[in-house]
Amino acid sequence: MIDLNRPWFRPPALSPAGAASVRLLFALLVYHTVPVGIGLHSQPHPVGLALAFDLTFLSAPGVMPGIRIGLIPVLAIYVLGRLPLFTLSLMLLATVLPGTLDNSQGSTQHGRQVISLITLAQLLYHIAGSTRFIRHDRLQRARWEVFMGQQAIVAAYTVTAITKLLRSGLGWITDSANFPIQMTKNIRMQYYNTLEPETVEGFWATTSASAQQLFLDSPNLCRVLLSSGLALELFAVVALLGRRPAAAYGALLITFHLMVRTMTGLNFRYHLAALFIFLVLPALLIAIITRSLARRMK
Protein backbone atom coordinates (compact mmCIF):
# COMPACT_ATOMS: atom_id res chain seq x y z
CA MET A 1 0.00 0.00 0.00
CA ILE A 2 1.38 3.41 -0.97
CA ASP A 3 1.55 5.78 2.00
CA LEU A 4 0.65 9.27 0.79
CA ASN A 5 1.37 10.85 4.17
CA ARG A 6 5.04 9.83 4.19
CA PRO A 7 7.23 11.88 1.81
CA TRP A 8 8.40 9.77 -1.11
CA PHE A 9 11.21 12.01 -2.27
CA ARG A 10 13.57 13.63 0.20
CA PRO A 11 17.25 14.58 0.38
CA PRO A 12 19.76 11.96 1.57
CA ALA A 13 20.39 12.19 5.33
CA LEU A 14 24.06 13.05 4.96
CA SER A 15 26.19 14.34 7.83
CA PRO A 16 27.94 17.72 7.31
CA ALA A 17 31.19 15.82 6.54
CA GLY A 18 29.38 13.53 4.11
CA ALA A 19 27.86 16.47 2.24
CA ALA A 20 31.28 18.17 2.16
CA SER A 21 32.80 14.98 0.68
CA VAL A 22 30.23 15.06 -2.13
CA ARG A 23 30.98 18.76 -2.72
CA LEU A 24 34.74 18.07 -2.77
CA LEU A 25 34.44 15.33 -5.40
CA PHE A 26 32.03 17.41 -7.47
CA ALA A 27 34.39 20.38 -7.30
CA LEU A 28 37.21 18.17 -8.62
CA LEU A 29 34.92 16.98 -11.40
CA VAL A 30 33.99 20.56 -12.34
CA TYR A 31 37.67 21.48 -12.45
CA HIS A 32 38.38 18.48 -14.67
CA THR A 33 35.50 19.47 -16.98
CA VAL A 34 36.92 22.91 -17.73
CA PRO A 35 39.32 22.47 -20.67
CA VAL A 36 42.98 23.47 -20.40
CA GLY A 37 42.85 25.14 -23.82
CA ILE A 38 40.55 25.64 -26.79
CA GLY A 39 41.56 26.05 -30.45
CA LEU A 40 38.25 27.20 -31.90
CA HIS A 41 38.40 30.55 -33.68
CA SER A 42 34.88 30.70 -35.08
CA GLN A 43 31.39 29.62 -34.08
CA PRO A 44 29.76 28.68 -37.39
CA HIS A 45 26.71 27.01 -35.81
CA PRO A 46 26.09 29.04 -32.63
CA VAL A 47 23.98 27.58 -29.83
CA GLY A 48 22.92 28.89 -26.42
CA LEU A 49 24.89 31.93 -25.25
CA ALA A 50 26.87 31.91 -28.53
CA LEU A 51 23.71 33.12 -30.27
CA ALA A 52 24.16 36.42 -28.43
CA PHE A 53 27.90 36.57 -27.69
CA ASP A 54 31.11 35.82 -29.55
CA LEU A 55 32.82 33.28 -27.32
CA THR A 56 35.90 32.78 -29.48
CA PHE A 57 37.87 34.96 -27.02
CA LEU A 58 38.14 31.75 -24.96
CA SER A 59 40.59 30.45 -27.58
CA ALA A 60 43.02 33.34 -27.01
CA PRO A 61 46.29 32.24 -25.37
CA GLY A 62 46.10 32.22 -21.59
CA VAL A 63 42.32 32.62 -21.26
CA MET A 64 41.39 29.03 -20.36
CA PRO A 65 44.44 28.50 -18.12
CA GLY A 66 43.48 31.78 -16.40
CA ILE A 67 39.90 30.60 -15.90
CA ARG A 68 41.14 27.31 -14.42
CA ILE A 69 43.48 29.08 -11.99
CA GLY A 70 40.74 31.54 -11.01
CA LEU A 71 38.38 28.64 -10.45
CA ILE A 72 40.55 27.03 -7.75
CA PRO A 73 39.68 29.45 -4.89
CA VAL A 74 36.05 29.51 -6.05
CA LEU A 75 35.88 25.71 -5.80
CA ALA A 76 37.58 25.80 -2.40
CA ILE A 77 34.89 28.18 -1.09
CA TYR A 78 32.20 25.92 -2.63
CA VAL A 79 33.64 22.86 -0.86
CA LEU A 80 33.48 24.78 2.43
CA GLY A 81 29.79 25.38 1.74
CA ARG A 82 30.12 29.16 1.74
CA LEU A 83 28.75 31.82 -0.67
CA PRO A 84 26.85 29.29 -2.81
CA LEU A 85 25.23 31.90 -5.10
CA PHE A 86 28.64 33.35 -5.93
CA THR A 87 30.54 30.07 -6.30
CA LEU A 88 27.86 28.18 -8.24
CA SER A 89 27.33 31.11 -10.66
CA LEU A 90 31.04 31.15 -11.49
CA MET A 91 31.23 27.36 -11.70
CA LEU A 92 28.28 27.43 -14.10
CA LEU A 93 29.91 30.08 -16.28
CA ALA A 94 33.25 28.24 -16.28
CA THR A 95 31.59 25.08 -17.62
CA VAL A 96 28.92 26.64 -19.85
CA LEU A 97 31.10 29.09 -21.81
CA PRO A 98 33.66 26.57 -23.18
CA GLY A 99 30.93 23.96 -23.63
CA THR A 100 28.85 26.41 -25.66
CA LEU A 101 31.77 27.37 -27.91
CA ASP A 102 32.64 23.70 -28.37
CA ASN A 103 29.07 22.86 -29.36
CA SER A 104 28.83 25.85 -31.72
CA GLN A 105 30.99 24.11 -34.34
CA GLY A 106 28.23 22.02 -35.94
CA SER A 107 29.04 18.96 -33.84
CA THR A 108 27.27 18.50 -30.52
CA GLN A 109 29.17 16.77 -27.74
CA HIS A 110 27.00 15.33 -24.97
CA GLY A 111 29.50 14.50 -22.25
CA ARG A 112 29.74 17.69 -20.24
CA GLN A 113 26.18 19.01 -20.10
CA VAL A 114 25.35 16.87 -17.10
CA ILE A 115 28.00 18.68 -15.02
CA SER A 116 26.59 22.09 -15.96
CA LEU A 117 23.04 20.88 -15.30
CA ILE A 118 24.00 19.71 -11.79
CA THR A 119 25.59 23.09 -11.12
CA LEU A 120 22.51 24.87 -12.51
CA ALA A 121 20.14 22.77 -10.38
CA GLN A 122 22.15 23.58 -7.25
CA LEU A 123 22.23 27.26 -8.15
CA LEU A 124 18.44 27.31 -8.74
CA TYR A 125 17.95 25.76 -5.30
CA HIS A 126 20.06 28.45 -3.63
CA ILE A 127 18.26 31.19 -5.58
CA ALA A 128 14.96 29.78 -4.33
CA GLY A 129 16.52 29.42 -0.88
CA SER A 130 17.31 33.12 -0.78
CA THR A 131 13.57 33.89 -0.91
CA ARG A 132 11.21 33.61 2.03
CA PHE A 133 9.54 30.48 0.60
CA ILE A 134 12.31 28.10 1.66
CA ARG A 135 13.66 28.14 5.19
CA HIS A 136 16.40 25.55 5.53
CA ASP A 137 19.24 25.43 8.05
CA ARG A 138 22.85 24.87 6.98
CA LEU A 139 22.72 21.05 7.13
CA GLN A 140 19.42 20.95 5.26
CA ARG A 141 20.90 23.23 2.59
CA ALA A 142 23.90 20.90 2.19
CA ARG A 143 21.62 17.87 1.85
CA TRP A 144 19.33 19.65 -0.61
CA GLU A 145 22.34 20.60 -2.71
CA VAL A 146 23.15 16.89 -3.11
CA PHE A 147 19.47 16.14 -3.77
CA MET A 148 19.39 18.78 -6.53
CA GLY A 149 22.45 17.15 -8.10
CA GLN A 150 20.61 13.83 -8.03
CA GLN A 151 17.56 15.45 -9.61
CA ALA A 152 19.59 16.98 -12.45
CA ILE A 153 21.10 13.56 -13.24
CA VAL A 154 17.70 11.88 -13.14
CA ALA A 155 16.26 14.65 -15.35
CA ALA A 156 19.01 14.08 -17.93
CA TYR A 157 18.36 10.33 -18.11
CA THR A 158 14.59 10.77 -18.25
CA VAL A 159 14.93 13.31 -21.08
CA THR A 160 17.13 10.83 -22.99
CA ALA A 161 14.36 8.23 -22.83
CA ILE A 162 11.57 10.71 -23.66
CA THR A 163 13.48 11.94 -26.75
CA LYS A 164 13.88 8.35 -27.99
CA LEU A 165 10.16 7.72 -27.59
CA LEU A 166 9.16 11.07 -29.12
CA ARG A 167 11.38 10.54 -32.17
CA SER A 168 10.87 6.85 -32.81
CA GLY A 169 7.95 5.73 -30.63
CA LEU A 170 7.94 2.09 -29.67
CA GLY A 171 9.50 1.42 -33.08
CA TRP A 172 12.76 2.30 -31.31
CA ILE A 173 12.67 -1.14 -29.72
CA THR A 174 12.27 -3.04 -33.00
CA ASP A 175 14.74 -0.79 -34.84
CA SER A 176 17.34 -1.27 -32.11
CA ALA A 177 18.22 -4.53 -33.88
CA ASN A 178 20.20 -2.22 -36.20
CA PHE A 179 22.55 -1.42 -33.33
CA PRO A 180 25.37 -3.65 -34.72
CA ILE A 181 26.04 -1.17 -37.53
CA GLN A 182 26.63 1.50 -34.89
CA MET A 183 29.17 -0.82 -33.31
CA THR A 184 30.96 -1.26 -36.64
CA LYS A 185 30.96 2.50 -37.14
CA ASN A 186 32.54 3.06 -33.73
CA ILE A 187 35.11 0.27 -34.08
CA ARG A 188 36.22 1.59 -37.47
CA MET A 189 36.46 5.19 -36.30
CA GLN A 190 38.41 4.11 -33.20
CA TYR A 191 40.88 2.44 -35.54
CA TYR A 192 41.18 5.36 -37.98
CA ASN A 193 41.61 7.77 -35.06
CA THR A 194 45.01 6.32 -34.19
CA LEU A 195 45.73 3.49 -36.69
CA GLU A 196 46.85 1.39 -33.71
CA PRO A 197 46.27 -2.33 -34.37
CA GLU A 198 45.16 -2.69 -30.72
CA THR A 199 41.91 -0.96 -31.69
CA VAL A 200 41.04 -3.80 -34.09
CA GLU A 201 42.82 -6.74 -32.46
CA GLY A 202 42.82 -5.88 -28.77
CA PHE A 203 40.54 -7.08 -25.99
CA TRP A 204 38.00 -4.31 -26.50
CA ALA A 205 37.73 -4.81 -30.24
CA THR A 206 37.42 -8.61 -30.05
CA THR A 207 34.83 -8.38 -27.24
CA SER A 208 32.90 -5.83 -29.25
CA ALA A 209 33.11 -7.99 -32.40
CA SER A 210 31.84 -11.06 -30.48
CA ALA A 211 28.94 -9.07 -29.02
CA GLN A 212 28.18 -7.70 -32.47
CA GLN A 213 27.98 -11.17 -34.03
CA LEU A 214 25.77 -12.33 -31.16
CA PHE A 215 23.39 -9.41 -31.83
CA LEU A 216 23.39 -10.07 -35.59
CA ASP A 217 22.52 -13.73 -34.99
CA SER A 218 19.92 -12.91 -32.30
CA PRO A 219 18.32 -9.52 -33.03
CA ASN A 220 15.82 -10.06 -30.19
CA LEU A 221 18.67 -10.29 -27.70
CA CYS A 222 19.85 -6.92 -28.96
CA ARG A 223 16.30 -5.52 -28.57
CA VAL A 224 15.94 -6.87 -25.03
CA LEU A 225 19.29 -5.47 -23.94
CA LEU A 226 18.75 -2.00 -25.38
CA SER A 227 15.12 -1.89 -24.18
CA SER A 228 16.31 -2.58 -20.65
CA GLY A 229 18.59 0.46 -21.02
CA LEU A 230 15.64 2.53 -22.23
CA ALA A 231 13.54 1.39 -19.25
CA LEU A 232 16.41 2.24 -16.92
CA GLU A 233 16.51 5.78 -18.32
CA LEU A 234 12.73 6.23 -18.38
CA PHE A 235 12.21 5.23 -14.75
CA ALA A 236 15.31 6.98 -13.40
CA VAL A 237 13.07 8.87 -10.94
CA VAL A 238 13.14 5.69 -8.80
CA ALA A 239 16.69 6.76 -7.86
CA LEU A 240 15.19 9.64 -5.88
CA LEU A 241 13.14 7.39 -3.56
CA GLY A 242 15.88 7.13 -0.95
CA ARG A 243 19.53 6.35 -0.45
CA ARG A 244 19.29 2.63 -1.21
CA PRO A 245 17.31 3.05 -4.44
CA ALA A 246 19.75 5.82 -5.39
CA ALA A 247 22.79 3.60 -4.85
CA ALA A 248 21.20 0.60 -6.57
CA TYR A 249 20.02 2.68 -9.53
CA GLY A 250 23.35 4.48 -9.77
CA ALA A 251 25.18 1.12 -9.79
CA LEU A 252 22.81 -0.19 -12.50
CA LEU A 253 23.35 2.87 -14.70
CA ILE A 254 27.12 2.68 -14.21
CA THR A 255 27.03 -1.03 -15.19
CA PHE A 256 24.94 -0.21 -18.27
CA HIS A 257 27.36 2.55 -19.33
CA LEU A 258 30.35 0.24 -18.86
CA MET A 259 28.65 -2.44 -20.94
CA VAL A 260 27.88 0.02 -23.76
CA ARG A 261 31.44 1.32 -23.52
CA THR A 262 32.80 -2.20 -23.99
CA MET A 263 30.60 -2.67 -27.06
CA THR A 264 31.08 0.71 -28.72
CA GLY A 265 34.18 2.30 -27.25
CA LEU A 266 32.11 5.39 -26.37
CA ASN A 267 33.36 7.26 -23.34
CA PHE A 268 30.91 8.19 -20.57
CA ARG A 269 33.44 9.45 -18.04
CA TYR A 270 31.50 12.54 -16.87
CA HIS A 271 28.26 10.58 -16.48
CA LEU A 272 30.05 7.75 -14.68
CA ALA A 273 31.70 10.19 -12.28
CA ALA A 274 28.45 12.12 -11.65
CA LEU A 275 26.51 8.89 -11.04
CA PHE A 276 29.09 7.72 -8.52
CA ILE A 277 29.37 11.05 -6.69
CA PHE A 278 25.66 11.83 -6.39
CA LEU A 279 23.87 8.47 -6.39
CA VAL A 280 26.27 5.84 -5.08
CA LEU A 281 28.56 7.78 -2.73
CA PRO A 282 25.88 9.31 -0.43
CA ALA A 283 24.57 5.83 0.45
CA LEU A 284 28.12 4.61 1.14
CA LEU A 285 28.86 7.62 3.35
CA ILE A 286 25.63 7.21 5.32
CA ALA A 287 26.29 3.48 5.76
CA ILE A 288 29.84 4.12 7.01
CA ILE A 289 28.70 6.75 9.51
CA THR A 290 25.73 4.67 10.70
CA ARG A 291 28.01 1.67 11.29
CA SER A 292 30.64 3.66 13.13
CA LEU A 293 27.93 5.22 15.36
CA ALA A 294 26.44 1.79 16.07
CA ARG A 295 29.89 0.49 17.03
CA ARG A 296 30.41 3.38 19.44
CA MET A 297 27.00 2.83 21.05
CA LYS A 298 27.84 -0.83 21.88
Partner: protein, 164 residues
Protein backbone atom coordinates in the same frame (compact mmCIF):
# COMPACT_ATOMS: atom_id res chain seq x y z
CA UNK B 1 -3.67 17.22 -3.26
CA UNK B 2 -1.32 14.69 -1.61
CA UNK B 3 0.23 13.58 -4.92
CA UNK B 4 1.21 17.14 -5.85
CA UNK B 5 2.69 17.57 -2.38
CA UNK B 6 4.71 14.40 -2.92
CA UNK B 7 6.05 15.62 -6.25
CA UNK B 8 6.80 19.17 -5.06
CA UNK B 9 10.37 18.35 -3.88
CA UNK B 10 11.16 17.37 -7.47
CA UNK B 11 10.28 20.80 -8.89
CA UNK B 12 13.93 21.57 -9.68
CA UNK B 13 14.46 18.32 -11.57
CA UNK B 14 11.17 18.70 -13.45
CA UNK B 15 12.14 22.25 -14.45
CA UNK B 16 15.54 21.05 -15.72
CA UNK B 17 13.89 18.25 -17.71
CA UNK B 18 11.36 20.63 -19.28
CA UNK B 19 14.09 23.14 -20.20
CA UNK B 20 16.13 20.33 -21.80
CA UNK B 21 13.16 19.15 -23.85
CA UNK B 22 12.17 22.68 -24.91
CA UNK B 23 15.58 24.26 -25.53
CA UNK B 24 17.11 21.10 -27.08
CA UNK B 25 20.75 21.60 -28.13
CA UNK B 26 21.45 24.92 -26.41
CA UNK B 27 24.27 24.24 -23.99
CA UNK B 28 23.98 23.39 -21.10
CA UNK B 29 20.59 22.07 -22.14
CA UNK B 30 20.29 19.06 -24.38
CA UNK B 31 17.53 16.64 -25.29
CA UNK B 32 20.15 13.88 -25.83
CA UNK B 33 19.15 12.94 -29.40
CA UNK B 34 21.96 10.41 -29.94
CA UNK B 35 20.75 6.88 -30.63
CA UNK B 36 17.15 8.12 -30.61
CA UNK B 37 16.53 6.36 -33.90
CA UNK B 38 18.30 3.33 -35.30
CA UNK B 39 18.30 3.49 -39.06
CA UNK B 40 19.19 0.45 -41.14
CA UNK B 41 22.20 2.29 -42.56
CA UNK B 42 24.92 4.53 -41.18
CA UNK B 43 28.41 5.59 -42.21
CA UNK B 44 31.82 6.51 -40.93
CA UNK B 45 34.58 8.73 -42.24
CA UNK B 46 38.37 8.73 -42.20
CA UNK B 47 41.09 11.04 -43.39
CA UNK B 48 43.90 10.40 -45.84
CA UNK B 49 47.12 12.08 -46.86
CA UNK B 50 48.18 12.97 -50.42
CA UNK B 51 49.02 9.33 -51.15
CA UNK B 52 45.54 8.22 -50.10
CA UNK B 53 46.94 6.57 -46.95
CA UNK B 54 44.95 6.98 -43.71
CA UNK B 55 46.14 9.66 -41.26
CA UNK B 56 45.92 8.93 -37.49
CA UNK B 57 44.00 12.16 -37.06
CA UNK B 58 43.64 11.94 -33.28
CA UNK B 59 47.39 11.59 -32.84
CA UNK B 60 48.01 14.42 -35.31
CA UNK B 61 45.42 16.99 -34.19
CA UNK B 62 43.78 15.71 -31.00
CA UNK B 63 40.45 15.68 -32.87
CA UNK B 64 38.49 12.43 -32.97
CA UNK B 65 36.62 11.11 -35.98
CA UNK B 66 33.37 10.97 -33.98
CA UNK B 67 33.46 14.74 -33.79
CA UNK B 68 34.69 15.18 -37.38
CA UNK B 69 31.83 13.00 -38.60
CA UNK B 70 29.31 15.21 -36.77
CA UNK B 71 30.71 18.33 -38.47
CA UNK B 72 30.49 16.59 -41.87
CA UNK B 73 27.00 15.33 -41.03
CA UNK B 74 25.79 18.88 -40.26
CA UNK B 75 27.05 19.85 -43.73
CA UNK B 76 25.22 16.89 -45.30
CA UNK B 77 22.00 17.95 -43.58
CA UNK B 78 22.43 21.47 -45.00
CA UNK B 79 23.11 20.00 -48.47
CA UNK B 80 19.90 17.99 -48.05
CA UNK B 81 17.94 21.15 -47.21
CA UNK B 82 19.44 22.93 -50.23
CA UNK B 83 18.55 20.07 -52.54
CA UNK B 84 15.04 20.02 -51.07
CA UNK B 85 14.58 23.75 -51.71
CA UNK B 86 15.87 23.34 -55.27
CA UNK B 87 14.07 20.17 -56.35
CA UNK B 88 11.01 20.28 -54.08
CA UNK B 89 11.83 17.02 -52.29
CA UNK B 90 14.56 16.47 -49.72
CA UNK B 91 16.74 13.48 -50.64
CA UNK B 92 17.87 11.06 -47.94
CA UNK B 93 21.46 11.63 -46.82
CA UNK B 94 22.50 8.33 -48.36
CA UNK B 95 21.09 9.46 -51.74
CA UNK B 96 23.15 12.66 -51.96
CA UNK B 97 25.41 12.65 -55.01
CA UNK B 98 29.23 12.88 -54.73
CA UNK B 99 28.93 16.48 -55.99
CA UNK B 100 26.48 17.32 -53.20
CA UNK B 101 28.79 15.75 -50.61
CA UNK B 102 31.87 17.65 -51.81
CA UNK B 103 31.14 21.02 -50.17
CA UNK B 104 30.35 19.53 -46.70
CA UNK B 105 33.49 17.36 -46.95
CA UNK B 106 35.74 20.26 -47.90
CA UNK B 107 34.19 22.48 -45.24
CA UNK B 108 34.93 19.76 -42.69
CA UNK B 109 38.56 19.47 -43.80
CA UNK B 110 38.92 23.24 -43.58
CA UNK B 111 37.44 23.20 -40.06
CA UNK B 112 39.94 20.51 -39.01
CA UNK B 113 42.83 22.61 -40.30
CA UNK B 114 41.53 25.83 -38.73
CA UNK B 115 41.01 24.15 -35.34
CA UNK B 116 44.50 22.61 -35.27
CA UNK B 117 47.39 24.05 -33.27
CA UNK B 118 50.47 25.31 -35.19
CA UNK B 119 52.34 21.99 -34.91
CA UNK B 120 49.34 20.00 -36.13
CA UNK B 121 48.80 22.54 -38.94
CA UNK B 122 52.37 21.94 -40.13
CA UNK B 123 51.79 18.16 -40.08
CA UNK B 124 48.55 18.55 -42.05
CA UNK B 125 50.26 20.81 -44.62
CA UNK B 126 53.02 18.22 -45.02
CA UNK B 127 50.39 15.52 -45.61
CA UNK B 128 48.36 17.62 -48.11
CA UNK B 129 46.22 17.22 -50.04
CA UNK B 130 44.02 15.86 -47.26
CA UNK B 131 41.20 13.59 -48.33
CA UNK B 132 37.95 12.74 -46.55
CA UNK B 133 36.62 9.22 -47.15
CA UNK B 134 33.02 8.16 -46.58
CA UNK B 135 32.05 4.52 -45.99
CA UNK B 136 28.39 3.38 -45.80
CA UNK B 137 27.45 0.47 -43.53
CA UNK B 138 24.26 -1.62 -43.59
CA UNK B 139 23.01 -5.00 -42.41
CA UNK B 140 22.26 -7.66 -45.01
CA UNK B 141 21.30 -11.23 -44.10
CA UNK B 142 22.74 -11.07 -40.58
CA UNK B 143 25.97 -9.60 -41.86
CA UNK B 144 27.37 -6.08 -41.70
CA UNK B 145 28.22 -4.82 -45.17
CA UNK B 146 30.58 -1.90 -45.78
CA UNK B 147 30.83 -0.08 -49.11
CA UNK B 148 34.10 0.79 -50.80
CA UNK B 149 35.51 4.01 -49.27
CA UNK B 150 34.46 7.01 -51.36
CA UNK B 151 36.74 10.06 -51.46
CA UNK B 152 34.15 12.82 -50.97
CA UNK B 153 36.40 15.87 -50.71
CA UNK B 154 39.93 17.11 -50.43
CA UNK B 155 41.88 20.12 -49.22
CA UNK B 156 45.15 21.12 -50.83
CA UNK B 157 48.04 23.00 -49.24
CA UNK B 158 47.14 26.21 -51.16
CA UNK B 159 43.56 26.09 -49.82
CA UNK B 160 44.93 25.62 -46.31
CA UNK B 161 46.91 28.83 -46.70
CA UNK B 162 43.71 30.78 -47.43
CA UNK B 163 41.84 29.12 -44.58
CA UNK B 164 40.43 31.40 -41.93
Amino acid sequence: MPILRQIAPLSGGILIALLCLLLKENFPFTHYPMYSNFEDQTYYVWLSDGEGEPIPIQNTTGLRLGRIKKIYNTGLLEARELAGAKFGKKPRKRDLSPAQRRAPAEETLRWIYDSANPRAKAALRAAAPLGLYHVDIRIEKNRVIETTPLRVGELGAEEMEVSR
